[in-house]
Symmetry: C2
Subunit: 155 residues, 2 copies
């Protein structure tokens, strides 16, 4: 049982954007930090922007930032927007051919289990995952050497 | 988010074995009933036998039957034995390279959510999914025409 890489990368991008709160983060620096594909992360960023979790600022000094406060972003809502489906087994999909579908109780049990999974995620927000810049190898503002591509704004 | 087809087929095979309780079921008839690959279902049956959920009887009239009463078979235990892993995201796997792993709290949140999922499944047994032979298109014993390959034993 797995979440897609898409959801994994989405949560990681959000966690990075949360830690850089007053600055714009770029796909390039985030991809480099996590060792992820830039192209894949771009798709993730587009989805998170469409879903209203990230705000994209265009232009040469553009980048991404959180569209809401971290405590307003429930993890369950992020995962709902990034998972392509919650088709735990075949009969959750349209076109299912399983002969016992009309009477089967497995679907209901699995839906209940999935509900318990999502309810747990809904009990946490991005604020619960908040890290410090140092956890990303980012030196405190004022120090010129940083892991990220973009210089941090000085206070 | 999905379970593997392996788990899906395992649950379906168990449900069929449960409904044919006093008889041996074959891979052939189960594969035909559900429209599944015989080879794939054979691997599922081998795993369920190894895990102690099914009992295999060899020989020309051999087949599979439940190794325990349906009410003794928790759905969570079946899924634990058939899912290859519960690596919801990359950092659940060995060799993970994510730089924030040492401080990240996402892993703990996802483990809690997975625990809630499995706890729900552990609250149900195969007995809760029990269907009637008619749900599989099987006529009552005594009627010669049946969906299954193997004739039902007469009372």
């Amino acid at each position: 049982m797995r979440l897609t890489n898409f959801s994994d990368y989405a949560l990681r991008l959000m966690m990075y954007a949360a830690v850089r709160k007053n600055e714009l983060v770029t796909i390039e620096e985030t991809a480099a930090l996590y060792g992820l594909s830039r192209a894949h992360l771009m798709k993730v960023a587009n989805q998170l922007t469409r879903a209203g979790f990230l705000k994209a600022t265009r232009g040469r000094n553009g980048g991404l930032s959180l569209a809401k406060k971290p405590e307003k972003i429930r993890l369950g809502d992020v995962v709902r927007s990034t998972e392509p489906d919650f088709a735990l087994v075949e009969c959750f999909e349209s076109g299912n051919q399983c002969l016992i579908t009309p009477r089967c109780r497995l679907r209901g049990v699995l839906q209940e289990a999935m509900g318990a999974f999502m309810k747990t995620l809904d009990g946490y927000t991005l604020a619960d995952l908040l890290l410090r810049p140092a956890d990303f190898g980012i030196k405190p503002a004022g120090d010129a050497s940083q892991a990220g591509r973009r210089p941090m704004m000085r206070p």
